[in-house]
Symmetry: C2
Subunit: 141 residues, 2 copies
């Protein structure tokens, strides 16, 4: 059995400078490493990488990669009021609003913003999921 773990999420990018603006100016995250091909951001025990499309395809030995892909990454916030504020910042940094913030069936508040490479981020306030001091989420606590 493998330990239950994700180590990195790597997002293909068509234009790393535009992507960088979204993550640095929109989320306010600082790269821990960057060159012309890849940028790394240290998150809560997980590294986010944005990687030039051609290099990602070569590394994966993928035929063709498509967008938007059938996935979303969620960033949960601690206070309900942070959802719309962050979505506004992300849109101002080159993101595209997919769904304005509203209440999902389980309660709370969430909206979706696509990054400049069409990768979907859900920005959510979910009172049913605890966020600890390190920013980690625990299911149903």
């Amino acid at each position: 059995m493998a330990e239950p773990r994700i180590s990195l999420i790597t997002l293909g990018s068509r234009n790393l400078a535009k992507s960088r603006r979204f993550y640095v100016d929109g989320f306010g995250w600082e790269p821990v490493f960057e060159n012309e091909e890849i940028i790394f951001y240290q998150l809560n025990g997980v590294i986010l990488a944005t990687f030039a499309d051609a290099a990602l395809k070569e590394d994966m030995v993928a035929g063709e990669l498509y967008r938007p892909g059938a996935f979303a990454i969620a960033h949960n916030v601690r206070e309900e009021g942070e959802v719309e504020a962050l979505m506004t910042d992300l849109a101002a940094a080159g993101g595209r609003i997919l769904r304005r913030a509203d209440a999902p069936p389980i309660g709370g508040l969430r909206g979706y913003v696509a990054d400049p490479d069409e990768h979907a981020w859900e920005i959510a306030y979910n009172p049913g999921f605890a966020i600890d001091n390190d920013g980690n989420i625990l299911f149903g606590t």
Copy 2:
């Protein structure tokens, strides 16, 4: 500035039973919640969700979602020998090998396996990235 955090990764699924087999029998991860539409797995401070495609599209208000998407999720292991062993388990549980394990330019060992919904997992041993006791990864340490 938003805290540097990913809370959930949600992967669209065309067949949750096949997907479940890959994560439960392949990785050996136990769901913390499941119904006909969604399955949650608690990982290192991040939750992995597999969500029926139609429900994900409705939640995101997405037009069309495509696969394979331009992204990969990495699961790093602690010992080099674990890479091929885990890839074998994943292939036996319905995964498809995209790239057999070999050494990337930075050293170590990595391969890629697609889950039954064509989402790419990189299985990697990277001696340059430390994995702490909680399974978290720290860049360049």
